[in-house]
Symmetry: C2
């Protein structure tokens, strides 16, 4: 069954005999009183309205005044001056910058504070990641990046005990599972559906045990989970930040406005109200908010007074500075039987009509780029296996490969990949990822690519990356008569992949000796999207077979010839009012000439044929109405003005078809409009239907913001049920207009049924399952029986008043609207045989091969290289491929010369009769050329030996 | 000639052998470089947008976030952590609050910082007082209050060397003179006419010696005076406050937006530009602004970087933390011959059409109340002479009488008495003054008034103050058949004053045995203003003769009689189209029946008759125009939309006349409209014409803000010259459309010729002088030959964009507009005999007797009381009255049992042939019942022995 474990090949964690030192300093209050844990905290977005650097420095203040450097500057002296004070810090992306600027004396002071629990790291990720549009691989990486930084810097006592997801807009079950496996004792968050919260308050169920996995045995993925009473803010009237406007406590009777009694009474009322929602005589109050504590004296001075006067007021209540860990520890002592939760916290609405389901799709370009970047990061980490002496990557922030890890860490932030930042910040995220690609950017990009090339291929010939392959643009391949394609497969099993290389053919023939090949003319959509850039008029298509955790290279040579026609003899043909069908050995896909739409899919082997109508539609974005003028659609919120979407085609899409001469690929082209195209492909030997959508520039001259969906309608009797993945891993059952744990009053029949789709969504009846996989996170739903839809792009003119302060109106490079292109893959098969297909396909999508180019073939003298005619094949880095149910999730080195390897079973319990069974893998001989001298299991975050950690028992 | 000196009767100042310790810590820079003195400072308004208490605490943040407590909290640790850092603090009204809240350890730390010059007190007044609407008596008091607090708290080294008037809107010469006499070595300020500043920059005359007095010999009133380059702000782009939006210095090359070179270059350019305006190789930069440094780390961290990078950049420039004193000290070493200035810095314009001359009159009610309150303060101080054991007043903030001194100190602030605060803050100033009257407010007001009564009269019968005597309202006198009037004269010479006591007569006769008395019916204007409050229908008028520094009491008894008519036989008579004249032994004032206006004044003894037309007019307030849409009239700015004012009367005023039966007073009543009235009075034996104006509610239904003036037109050939006082003391010559030190481009023919009139304004030709004295500060001018005008009230609908953010639209108690009533006094005489009249009269106005009431006559058994039939007379507190040219300015005790006495010669050099001569007064026997054991001369501020202080020599 599905499970994660990780392995360390050399010691890198600070072992501590005293594993519970984090709880030692806790004040557990007084048994007979209401104990109010005041938690001073700051919530520091790793980019949102400003970039992460701007937030760190406090620059670009015309947008907002916020400077993280000053927060840490300010808090430390406050803690040093008073042992009773506490502070928690969360985002290591910020903390690490600050730490590097401190002198030794300050560092010693901070270490002392950490040791004594006065400064406590909570969560400890590089950022506080989004939970709706992140992939579990990236979550694990960003958490590891932060957690190991803390461990390396402060040792075991700094290990966060509590996960702290106070701001993300909904919470995934997989996140809880990961946290549990990282050794966290609990999780607190702030945002959940308003009805859910009201109900929980009523039934005192604000805190419970979340069962994070349906595959792992309890308590491995169980996590104590609490809802913060006030989001992550203080109770009304008690914000004492320097930028808050609540009245301070004015306790000099000689001055005007003396208000001690008033403040005490108001606080006591708030505490009693809160206590009424919770089960124990402990409550936690989050005393802070966004970027607060830059002048922490203002907070602490007033909190000191609050504590003094409330405690003196004989209200059977005791206030003290505390931390979430200490609060959790107090709860752990409370001897309460907690409720068990098995579903998740999606979707999130903070009020009727205000469903935060738009961000599941916001900024499809950025979401796609984050996925692409993960692949690069994983390849970097793997490549370093061969690069021991260069030490180009480490977890520890000192070497240049850390740029891509930092960038990916930052990109998982809940306003980054979520698509909810301001445009200039989104640009900055993308720039960081780009510069992360340029991984050795301390030197030149060229030098860097040589390093990577050496690592991957043993060949120091510079690698050339073509960033626009998806629109058939590549300077090298379209202009050069000879080049080499280098393809690296980061999976620990062999895969094959159809490559599509931009080439310009005139009187030249493309030769890939010994390989079946096909030239496909550049489509009308691509030409339109390319906007006169590039000269490639064809894509050279061929199937690259790739070894497990290794690469292959392919030399392409153009020869002068008159036989161009023969390769291109099958051209794209327009289809007028006529049904067409494409097929390979697995599927037949039929299009209706009358509608221009997909009409049916036949799975040849299974003998299943299902009528499948697929259309491209758009919802018109609400700009508010009388009932709620603020219920705009925006970067966060999805709220269609009417529930029925409009067709993107004006009438019907125009159909064309391409069937290659040698049947490597058959393609149907649909032009829905000048801004919506689709290509449906069947590749020889591939048991999946590829659907490439191209959307944009979305027109807005009609003043309607638009949200584009791809909708599939079938005759499957699904009765409102559908299935979506959780962060690309386990699958959750969804049901229209229904929540498993409370009675839903549905205020939005469309938006209120949207769920995050990170990797796949499917529907099925008793027999047949239609699965759609995607290449980036999107929102998706099934709004009527047999139907399934994914939102793929959105362009809005209004703003949803959730803080970002600008419309999600991506205008793109040319100013007229961002064009986005992506893919869906369709599987139609029996329910029982679907899992093994979508599990492996999703993995191949997520960790698809890295494609790069070189001018020249590598010299044959390199060790490990073997020349096979025109092809250069490098041995795999694994001694033998892993079985299909085992995934080599990550492989990377540590600064002290060790390795961290994460291997996971990637099938859920019972989802496949064979592959869900336990599997065994030998680590000892997993990697070639390496001898394992010792091996220890770590927590998932890589920051502690598993044997050193005992989680709290609930 | 005019001069000030002060005397101490018992030691109270910290003597210091090392009188120059304030300069010891100064960094004087490098001789060959441009030395840039960076002066971290905060400018903390003692009330403006928020009240002084709100600013201290940081409450009422919906208006603005600003909390002084946090500023001092924040700066001290910064100074402690780095000996190179400096900070200056100014407003003792704030500092003293903060100080009282600190523990001993913090106090010791602060003392150390002060001793080492790292924390330096600058100015050191209770506030940074306004210079246009303040009286010199109040300035001296508020400065003394702060300076002595510093001396008592920190000793001699804390004595401020530099006066710091960075924000007041124009600068008076008297203020410079007072500063010089307080021992200050220099003055810096920020605001001066924009043309004046441009010119000074051009000719490098930003710093000079200001000769503060035309009577005192140099250098007694000479003061080095410098103009701040940037007001009191940092150069553009270098505001590093937590609330500023300039870019911080970003010096980590690994992060985006690294800007060190950019910042260095921009700063160097700013410094070189500034240096070009100044004479030496030292310049001072004010690194701070309003309420800044609440999170001083933000400032200091970036300044540290600025200093580091500029100094490292080899720009022939050295930056260091400094203070205005150290900068001044460096200038003093520079061996420069400085220019001498003899005029003042009024009026102030910051741009064409933007004359800050409206505030000379803004809030006439508050301005009047501040004057009234000063009298009360002085009486309190004097009364304490008799109250040694009760210790009700001290300078040192511990005893209850300090309330009135605090309130008066706060009220002198440049947004308080100036009338430029928000309305709620103006209300707070007035409330403080009111509570100051209630001087022992720690106990009941009744108890307190007994204390005061005991002090003033030796009689512990409670005093009753009637706050609305000016509108003939007093519960006691109008309803009681017997009461006692207690009148205290705070001048050290005997005076007589006509009292007007509200009474209700029906069948009763009012008896004041042995005194000439007259009943004057309550005027129509007063009845209108009273709005049905009160029942008094007459004022009982009689002349109270008062001893020097002493009181008199008068028992009033009503007897039943039928002779009412005899006392009221002269009634008010309406006058229709008929000339009328009122007269006493000194003046005849004639009114023209055709115009309803004053027509001429005859000085009987001098044989001078001058046609004098007086009218009440209003300017319509500009709401901006095409040339400058922001040039609104407002609380600060006076800008009439057209230069010719409109008449308040619709046609002509309605005249009435009252001539009393026994000729104590003759009165002419003018009703200009429902909202403008005037009474012109001549009292028997009084050589002055009293003009009582009543204005309001000013109507604004026509959408015009209105500024009401009283204008006098005569035939005197004055050719544009006129004369106004400076803070109620020396007189300055003014000239229409002219400035003595630069060529004026007049953009506002009215507002640009307005000057502050604190006590008097006059015009004269070779022979004859018309002097108008007022009872509160007003703006005044002479806009054409022989003409003179004073602005007495203003109500505005627009805002002048100078920060206050609301229109000066005082709606008053009844919501329809504030009614204001006040007085002018006219003198018409030869030029040579005018000074002796206006000097003494102004003094009698400013320190007019305190009138209070008691239910019962005092018992005759009190020591010192003598019963003289119905009158109770107490001996004067001076052994003999002072000569008329000597003024007992202040008399008060110190906590250690000493006394501070200020005596001044109150005539200018040569303004009177006799009284301008030096005068001698014996302090030894000045006060009754006290023996002078020792006596030492202090600085004017009372904070150092004069012999201990040597001012810098220029």
């Amino acid at each position: 069954m599905l499970g994660l474990f990780i392995v360390i090949l050399a010691s890198c964690c600070t072992a501590s005999a005293d594993v519970s030192c984090g709880y030692h300093s806790c004040n557990l209050g007084e048994a007979e009183k209401l104990n109010v844990h005041l938690v001073p905290h700051t919530h520091d977005d790793v980019g949102w309205l400003k970039t992460v650097d701007q937030y760190y420095y406090g620059s670009n203040s015309s947008i907002v005044i916020a400077g993280v450097q000053y927060i840490l500057d300010s808090v430390i002296p406050q803690l040093l001056s008073d042992p009773s004070k506490r502070f928690i810090y969360v985002e290591i992306a910020f903390f690490s910058r600050w730490w590097e600027e401190q002198n030794d004396a300050m560092k010693e002071n901070v270490k002392q504070l950490v040791q004594e629990g006065r400064l406590e790291f909570i969560l400890g990720g590089w950022c506080m990641n989004d939970e709706a549009s992140t992939h579990y691989n990236a979550i694990i990486d960003q958490m590891t990046h932060g957690l190991r930084y803390l461990n390396d810097t402060f040792g075991a006592c700094a290990r966060p005990r509590v996960a702290w997801q106070i701001d993300p807009f909904g919470h995934s079950r997989e996140q809880a599972s990961l946290f549990a496996q990282m050794g966290f004792d609990g999780l607190f968050f702030g945002r959940l559906d308003y009805e859910d919260k009201e109900n929980r308050e009523k039934i005192r169920n604000m805190e419970e045990i979340w069962r994070g996995s349906q595959s792992l045995t309890s308590p491995h993925a169980d996590l104590f989970t609490g809802v913060d009473e006030n989001g992550y803010n203080p109770p009304d009237g008690f914000c004492f930040d320097a930028f808050c406007r609540d009245q301070p406590i004015m306790d000099n009777p000689a001055l005007e406005d003396y208000n001690v009694e008033e403040k005490v009474d108001k606080f006591v009322a708030a505490a009693l109200k809160q206590a009424n929602h919770f089960q124990t005589n402990h409550i936690m109050m989050t005393m802070g908010s966004d970027f607060e504590y830059s002048n922490s004296n203002v907070w602490y001075k007033n909190l000191d007074k609050l504590i003094k006067y409330v405690n003196a007021a004989d209200k059977n209540m005791t206030l003290f500075y505390s931390t979430p860990s200490c609060y959790l520890y107090a709860l752990n002592h409370a001897n309460v039987m907690w409720n068990i939760k098995k579903d998740d916290f999606f979707p999130y609405a903070d009020a009727p009509h205000q469903y935060w389901t738009g961000y599941f799709t916001s900024r499809p370009g950025l979401k796609g780029y984050v996925r692409e970047s993960n692949k690069y990061l994983q390849v970097m980490c793997q490549s370093h296996k061969n690069l021991q002496p260069l030490q180009v990557y480490s977890y520890d922030g000192q070497l240049s490969f850390t740029w891509i890890r930092d960038a990916m860490g930052v990109a998982q932030h809940h306003d980054a990949v979520s698509g909810t930042s301001k445009q200039h910040v989104a640009n900055d995220y993308a720039k960081r990822l780009y510069e992360g690609f340029d991984a050795c950017s301390v030197s030149s990009r060229e030098e860097c690519n040589k390093v990577i090339s050496t690592a991957l291929t043993g060949n120091n010939e510079q690698l050339i990356f073509c960033d626009y392959l998806n629109i058939t643009l590549c300077d090298l391949t379209q202009s050069s008569n000879q080049f080499v394609v280098m393809v690296y497969n980061p999976l620990a099993r062999g895969v094959s992949k159809y490559l599509r290389i931009p080439v310009k053919i005139n009187f030249y023939l493309i030769i890939l000796n010994k390989f079946a090949q096909q030239l496909v003319p550049v489509s009308e959509a691509t030409l339109s999207v390319r906007r006169n850039r590039g000269s490639a008029n064809c894509e050279l298509v061929f199937l690259a077979k790739l070894p497990a955790l290794g690469h292959n290279t392919f030399q392409v040579t153009k020869h002068k010839t008159s036989k161009t026609v023969s390769l291109l003899k099958t051209k794209v043909e327009k289809v007028i009012n006529q049904d067409v069908t494409i097929t390979n050995e697995f599927y037949k896909v039929k299009f209706d000439g009358n509608t221009g739409l997909m009409a049916s899919i036949e799975n040849i082997a299974s003998g299943i044929t299902v009528p499948v109508k697929q259309d491209m539609l758009w919802y018109n974005a609400s700009m508010g109405n009388d009932e709620n003028i603020n219920s705009h659609t925006g970067a966060y919120i999805f709220r269609p003005n009417v529930s029925t979407p409009f067709q993107c085609s004006n009438g019907k899409p125009q159909l064309s078809i391409f069937k290659g001469s040698n049947l490597l690929v058959q393609e149907v082209y649909q032009k829905f409009s000048d801004w919506v195209w689709q290509v449906i492909r069947l590749y020889a030997g591939k048991k999946q239907i590829e659907v490439e959508w191209t959307v944009g520039p979305i027109p807005v001259q009609d003043k309607w913001g638009k949200e584009i969906i791809s909708r599939y309608e079938t005759n499957l009797e699904t009765n409102g049920y559908f299935y979506t993945d959780s962060n690309g891993r386990e699958i959750l059952e969804r049901r229209k207009d229904y929540r498993p744990t409370w009675h839903l009053n549905q205020s939005e029949s469309v938006a209120g049924n949207y769920y995050p789709v990170n990797s796949r969504i499917y529907i099925h009846d008793n027999q047949v399952q239609l699965t759609v996989l995607n290449d980036r996170s999107q929102g998706g739903s099934s709004l009527s029986t047999g139907q399934l839809e994914l939102m793929i792009h959105r362009r809005l003119l209004g703003e949803d008043s959730k803080g970002v302060g600008e419309a999600l109106n991506e205008t793109g490079q040319f100013g007229d609207g961002l064009i986005s292109r992506g893919k869906h893959w369709l599987l139609l098969d029996t329910v029982t045989s679907s899992a093994k297909q979508h599990r492996l396909l999703a993995e191949e999508i997520y960790m698809s091969p890295l494609v790069a180019f070189q001018h020249h073939a590598p010299s044959t003298t390199h060790i490990g290289w073997k020349q096979r005619r025109y092809n250069y094949f490098f041995e795999s880095h694994v001694t033998s491929p892993l079985p299909p149910n085992i995934h080599l999730l990550t492989l990377s080195t540590t600064t002290d010369g060790g390795y961290i390897v994460r291997v996971e079973h990637q099938f859920e319990k019972n989802e496949d009769s064979t592959l869900s069974k336990p599997a065994t893998v030998s680590l000892k001989n997993l990697l070639t050329d390496f001898h394992v001298s010792s091996c220890e299991e770590l927590l998932l975050g890589g920051n502690a030996f598993k044997q050193d950690v005992t989680r709290l028992n609930w």
